[in-house]
Symmetry: C2
Subunit: 684 residues, 2 copies
C-alpha cells in the first residue's frame, strides 16, 4: 500500500481547500476555514487566552500553563535538557524521573528560559523602509538589521518585554513579538525515561505509540509561583474520535513555500551534508556511551538529539527523492509563474533569483556550516569561547551595528547560557571535538587552510585532546574573567579553546558575510515578491512557513489505514504492557519497575496516546492539544513516519501528529506516582 | 604522551633496519634480518611446513591446522559468518557457541571454502611478456588478463590445484599460487559470543583485551577427516616475554609503497567516502537490530563487519591527517625520486604517472564504487542477480576473454556461494537495499541518471520494498533455473532484482573499463618501474604490500608504555572477571553464564591475551602465532589503536598485534567447556 502514497499526495494537493493544512499566525488565524469545515468560531478572547497560555521553551520546544500558579506541562524530551543539567553520576534525573511532593521540593533549573507571547505587532513597513531601492545587498543587510535592532530596543524600553522581530514568508513580512520572560523555572515532575521514551529510537516517528512523554515545571517570580491567569484547564476525559482539536506551539521549520530549485538544493546538497553530519556524531556518541554507564549518562541527551535529527532528515530526504512529490511541486510552481508572468513580472522573475542564490550557496555552504555554524567544533566549550571572542569584538560597537545575537536586547539571555553552571564533561568534549574536526576533514580534505589552521600539524584526535586539556573554560569564574577583557587582551590569553576560536574567526565571519549578502538578502527580496504576488492573486490562503514562533494548527482526531489495515486513533496502557512482555521487557521496550509493580492498580483500558490530522513539525514537541472549550486534552510529542514529508507537503491521508492523552497523565499520576498535590492542582 | 607519537615514528623510520617490519613472501623470507636480529635460521623445511599448515578462509581471514586430522583453528569472528549461516531464530550459534562432543556432532558449513597454499611460482616475465611496448592501456589490460587466465588454466589442468595469480608490489611482480581447496568444512567448537568479543566495539582495536576469540573447524575429504600432515603442534605453555614469534596468515591490504599523491587521494577522497558509507550502513543496521532480538540476530554479522571497518578506516584517516606522518612520507619519496633521477629516469617519472592516475580517478571513483562495486545495492540478492546477469553474458566468451571472476578456473568457487542455501532475510535485505540506495542519492544527488534508472520515480525506501517483494532469488532452485538461461532469455524475466541488475549493467561495466584503463593499468606500469628501481638500488629490502595472500611476519613478545604507564604484554582470566564486575556484567562487558558459574574451577592467573611487535593487518585475523620450534603459541585476532596506521607506516614503539594465548584456550576447554575429545586431539 505504501508505494501508492505519492498518488494520494497528488490528489490531496489538487484539492487544497479540504485538508487541515497550516501552521497559522495567532494574529491571522484561519477563522473562515475552521468555520467552514468544523462550524467553529475562533473568537478573539479564545485566541488571546490560548496565546498567553502557550509557553516557548528556548531550547527548542513548546508547552502550556495548566494552572493559575505557574504550572507548565511539556514533553519529557523537552524537559530532558534541564533534567540532565540537574543530574550527577549518582542521581540521574533523566532516567529515574522526579516528583516534588511539595513546593519546597521543586528544583531550580540552571539555565532554562521560558517565553510567553503577549503581543504581536506587524512592523513589515518599518523594516522594509530601511532598505532603499537599488541598495547593494551588503548595505541592505546592515540597514535592515539596524532597523530591526532599533525597533526591538524601542519596544523593550517602552514595554519592558522581551521584543523579537520574526521574519515570516521567508522575508515577505516582519512581526514584532513581545514576550514575558521567565528565568526562575523549577522542576515539578518527570516520569522515568523508559516510559517517556518507550520504544526508543525504533519507535521514534512511528505509530502506534505508548509514551508518557510529559514533564511538569513551574515558573516563579520574586521567589513565588508566578500568577498565570491565562492557562488551559486540564480536561480529564480527553478527546473523542472525529473531534476538532487545536495544537498551539512553536513549529521549528518548514519549507512549503520554497521554490523547486531550493528544494533540489536541499535534496542534493544540504540534506546529504546534514545526514552525514548527524550520522557521524551519532556513531561517535554511541561509541562513547558504550564505555560504561556514566559515559552513557553523560551522552544521553546528545544521543537522543542526533538520532532524532537523523530520522527527521532521512524522512525529508526520502520525500524529496520521490519524484511524484517533486513533480507536484514543479507543476504548482509552473502554474504560479505563468499566472505571475502577465500581471506581476517582478514576482515571476523572483524564481530565477532564488535559483541563482542556490548556485552561489553551493560554492560555500559546507564551509559556512563547518566554520560559521561551528559544525567542525562540536563542543560546548568552543561555543563559549566563540561567544567570548565575539563579545569582545562586538561590545565596543553601537548595538544596532553588532552581529544580531550580541545586540543589547539579547545579551541577558545570552549570559544565562554563557555563565551557566551546568556541568561540562571533559572526556565527552574531547571525543565530540575530535569527531567534528574529523568530519570537517572528511568534507574538506586534509589540507583546507582554515581547518589546517585549527589542527596545526596534528590529527583531529590528538588536536582535540590538546585543546580540551589546555582550556580553563570549564570554570564559570574563568569565563566571567575573560568576558571582562577587551579584544586585544583576550587575544593574548593562552587558553587553547580561545585560541582555537580566534584562529578560525576571520574565515567564519567572512563566510557569514557572504551568506548574508549572496544568499539570504537576495532570497529575502525574492520571496517577499512571491509572497506579495500570491497575496495579490489569492489573498492570505497560505500560512507562512514555520520559524519556531507561535502558531495555531487544527485538525480532526482520527486513525488511518495502512495496507488495508485500520490503525486506531488511540492506544491503551494494556497494549504497552503486552508489547513490553513480547520484548521480555528489554530496552528499548522496557517498562519502569514502578509500572510493572503497579500494573494491577491501573485501568488498562486507559487511552495512552492518540493522533489527529493537525499540522505540526519539530518544535511543536510539548504543544498542548486543545478542544473547542480551550481545555487541554493532550500533549503533542511526535508525528508518524508519513508526517516526515510535512516539511514540504501536507496531507491528511496517513500523516498524523501524536499526543499523550490527557486521561493517561491523570491515571498514571494517581495510580503509579501518588502525585496527589499535582493532581489536585490539575483538577482545581 | 600520545601527542609525541609522530616524532617517534620519524625516528623509527630513519632507522629502518631496527624494526620488525614486513609481511614477507613465503618464497622470499627475511632470512638475513631474522638471523641478524634474533639469531634464528629460517630453514626451508620450517618454512614449507608452516606454509602448508596455514589456512586461508575465503571470507577474509586466516587459520591453521592444529592436528593431523584436519582440525583448523581460527578466530570466532572469522568463523562467525559460517556460524550465522547455520543459525536459526531458535538456535543462535553465534551467540551461544557450539561444541561437537564427537565427530558425528560436527556440523557441515553451507558455503565455506578453505585454501591451503602448496606451491608458489614466479610468473612475472610470462605475464609481462603479454603486454607489448606501446600497447594502449585498454589493450594491455585485455592482454595481461588473458595471459593470466591462460597460465592459471594450464596450472589447474596440470596439477589439479586451484591456481591464482597474485599481483605483488602494486604490479611489480606476479606469482602463481597453487592451493589445495577444501569445501567440506565442519564446525567443531565455538565459544559464546560474549567471551569471544568481550568488550565489544568499545574494546575493538584496543589493548589490554580479554577475548577467547577462537573457533575450531575440521576439513573433510570424501566424507572423512582430511589427513593433514603439515600442522602446528599446540604448545600449551605459550610464549615468554621477549621471545621471537612469527605470524603466518593473509594480511588484507596495506599501502606502504603507495606514493604521496596516492595517499593524499586516499585521505581526501577514498577514506571520507568509505567512512561515510560504513557509518551509513552501521546506523541503519543498528536501527534494524533495535526492533527486536530476532532482528538483532539477523543483523549481528553485518553490524560487526561495518563497525570493524569503521574503526579501521577511522584510524587510517587520523594517521593520514597527521602531518608529521605525511612529512616523513614526502621526505622519503623525494629522496627516492632524487636517487632515481640520475640513474633511472623512467622510475623517476613514474611518480608523476601515479599522480595523474589519481586525478583521473577523482572524476569517477564514487560512481565506480556505487555502481560497479555495488555499494548502491547492498543486498545479497543483488549480488546474486548481478552474477546471474554477468554469467549469462560472459559464458559464451572464451574463458581468457571473460571478466576475470568468470574465468573457468573460478566458476566452481563462485557457484558455491551463488547456490548456497544460507538463509537470506527479506526484511534485512529491504532495509539494506533502501539504505544503500539512499546513500547513493546522498553522494550523487537525486537526478543522477543511472541511479534514477535504478529508482524509477520512487524514493529509495519505496523502491527497495518493491524490488525485494518482486524477486524470486530467495530460492536456490530459482537461481539455478535462471543460471541456465542465455542473456536474451534472462533479460525477459520479470524478476525485479534481475531487472535492477540489468538496468545498471551498462554503466557499471563502462566504469569498470575506465578504472582498468585509466587507473589500474597506468598504475601497474608505474609501480612496476618504481619497484624495480628500488630493487636495483637497494635489493629486496622491502616486503610487498599486503594483498590477502600468505605472508610471514616476525616480532618480539613484549608490552609498551603509554603516558608513562607500562602496559603488560599479557592479560589474565582474573582481570576479565574484575572488568566484568566493574560493569555489573552488562554488555559488552558481560561474561557468559558458563564463565561466571565456572570461575572457581579456573586458574585465574592463566594468561588470556598477549601482544607482540609482529607486523599484521586485517586479514591476519585467525593467524597462528608460532614459536621457533614451529609450534602454535597463540591465535592473532586484532591490533591495538597504535597499529591502525600500519596501513601506511610500521613502528614497534607502541603498535602491537593481539593474540589469544595458547594456554588460555586449553584452560577454558578443560575447566569450562569439558571439551575432552578436542583437548586430547590438541595434546596428541
Amino acid at each position: 500500500m505504501r508505494i501508492f502514497l505519492p498518488v494520494l499526495i497528488c490528489m490531496t494537493l489538487l484539492a487544497p481547500g479540504r485538508a487541515d493544512e497550516g501552521m497559522w499566525l495567532l494574529n491571522a488565524p484561519p477563522r473562515e476555514r475552521v468555520k467552514r469545515d468544523y462550524g467553529f468560531e475562533l473568537t478573539d478572547p479564545w485566541l488571546q487566552r490560548v496565546m498567553r497560555a502557550a509557553v516557548r521553551f528556548n531550547n527548542g520546544g513548546s508547552g502550556a500553563f495548566v494552572s493559575s500558579e505557574g504550572l507548565v506541562v511539556t514533553n519529557h524530551h523537552i524537559g530532558a535538557d534541564a533534567l540532565q543539567k540537574l543530574s550527577t553520576p549518582e542521581r540521574d534525573l533523566v532516567q529515574q524521573g522526579y516528583l516534588a511532593r511539595t513546593r519546597a521540593e521543586e528544583i531550580s533549573c540552571v539555565d532554562l528560559e521560558l517565553n510567553v507571547l503577549l503581543e504581536i505587532e506587524d512592523v513589515t513597513d518599518r523594516v522594509e523602509a530601511a532598505v532603499k531601492p537599488g541598495m547593494p545587498p551588503e548595505q541592505a543587510v546592515t540597514a535592515r538589521s539596524a532597523a530591526m535592532s532599533t525597533l526591538e530596543r524601542e519596544s523593550l524600553d517602552r514595554t519592558g518585554l522581551r521584543s523579537d522581530i520574526i521574519t515570516l514568508y521567508q522575508g515577505g513580512a516582519y512581526h514584532l513579538y513581545r514576550f514575558k520572560k521567565y528565568t526562575d523555572v523549577r522542576l515539578v515532575m518527570a516520569p522515568e525515561h523508559d516510559i517517556a521514551f518507550f520504544g526508543g529510537d525504533a519507535h521514534n516517528f512511528e505509530y502506534p505509540r505508548y509514551n508518557l512523554d510529559v514533564c511538569f515545571f513551574r515558573v516563579y517570580e520574586d521567589g513565588k509561583p508566578a500568577v498565570t491567569r491565562d492557562f488551559l484547564p486540564w480536561n480529564g476525559a480527553g478527546p473523542q474520535a472525529g473531534e476538532l482539536v487545536f495544537v498551539v506551539g512553536n513549529p521549528g521549520r518548514t519549507n512549503r513555500l520554497d521554490t523547486v530549485e531550493r528544494l533540489e538544493h536541499l535534496r542534493d546538497l544540504t540534506l546529504p551534508y546534514r545526514l552525514s553530519r548527524v550520522r557521524h556524531a551519532e556513531a561517535n556518541l554511541l561509541q562513547y556511551a558504550q564505555l560504561g554507564p556514566e559515559q552513557a549518562r553523560q551522552a544521553q541527551g546528545e544521543v537522543y538529539s542526533v538520532a532524532n535529527a537523523r530520522k527527521a532528515y532521512a524522512g525529508q530526504f526520502q520525500g524529496l527523492l520521490n519524484n511524484n512529490i517533486m513533480a507536484t511541486k514543479r507543476a504548482a510552481q509552473k502554474s504560479l509563474e505563468e499566472r505571475f508572468a502577465s500581471r506581476l513580472p517582478d514576482a515571476a522573475s523572483a524564481f530565477q533569483e532564488i535559483a541563482r542564490s542556490q548556485k552561489s550557496l553551493s560554492a560555500f555552504e559546507r564551509e559556512y556550516f563547518l566554520f560559521e555554524q561551528a559544525h567542525a567544533f562540536d563542543s560546548e566549550l568552543f561555543t563559549i569561547a566563540r561567544h567570548l571572542v565575539r563579545l569582545a569584538a562586538e561590545r565596543p560597537l553601537p548595538s544596532d551595528r553588532r552581529l544580531r545575537e550580541y545586540r543589547d536586547t539579547a545579551l541577558e539571555s545570552l549570559e544565562l547560557t554563557l555563565f551557566s553552571p551546568a556541568p561540562i564533561e571533559a572526556e565527552l568534549e574531547k571525543v565530540r571535538l575530535a569527531d567534528s574536526l574529523t568530519f570537517a576533514a572528511e568534507v574538506l580534505g586534509g589540507e583546507e587552510p582554515t581547518l589546517r589552521q585549527a589542527l596545526g600539524p596534528l590529527s583531529p584526535e590528538l588536536r582535540a585532546a590538546e585543546v580540551v586539556a589546555g582550556t580553563g573554560l570549564f570554570e564559570v569564574a574563568e569565563r566571567k574573567r575573560l568576558a571582562g577583557l577587551d579584544a586585544a587582551s583576550l587575544s593574548r590569553e593562552k587558553d587553547a579553546m580561545i585560541q582555537l576560536a580566534l584562529a578560525v574567526e576571520a574565515r567564519s565571519r567572512s563566510l557569514r558575510k557572504r551568506m548574508e549578502s549572496e544568499v539570504e538578502e537576495p532570497e529575502r527580496r525574492a520571496y517577499a515578491l512571491i509572497a506579495r504576488g500570491m497575496f495579490a492573486l489569492e489573498g492570505p490562503t497560505m500560512a507562512p512557513d514555520a520559524t519556531f514562533s507561535l502558531r495555531l494548527a487544527y485538525g480532526r482526531v482520527g486513525g488511518y489505514e495502512v495496507g488495508g489495515k485500520q490503525i486506531p486513533w488511540f492506544t491503551t496502557f494494556g497494549e504497552a504492557f503486552e508489547l513490553a512482555a513480547e520484548h521480555h521487557n528489554a530496552a528499548p521496550f522496557r517498562l519502569p519497575r514502578r509500572w510493572l509493580d503497579g500494573k494491577a492498580r491501573l485501568n488498562l483500558e486507559t487511552p495512552f496516546d492518540f493522533v489527529s490530522t493537525a499540522d505540526t513539525i519539530g518544535g511543536n514537541s510539548g504543544s498542548p492539544v486543545i478542544n473547542r472549550s480551550g481545555e487541554l486534552v493532550g500533549i503533542n510529542f511526535d508525528r508518524n513516519r508519513y508526517g516526515l514529508v510535512r516539511n514540504f507537503v501536507y496531507t491528511d491521508h496517513q500523516a498524523r501528529h501524536i499526543a499523550v492523552h490527557s486521561r493517561a497523565v491523570l491515571e498514571a499520576l494517581d495510580k503509579l506516582y501518588g502525585a496527589n498535590e499535582l493532581l489536585a492542582e490539575l483538577r482545581r
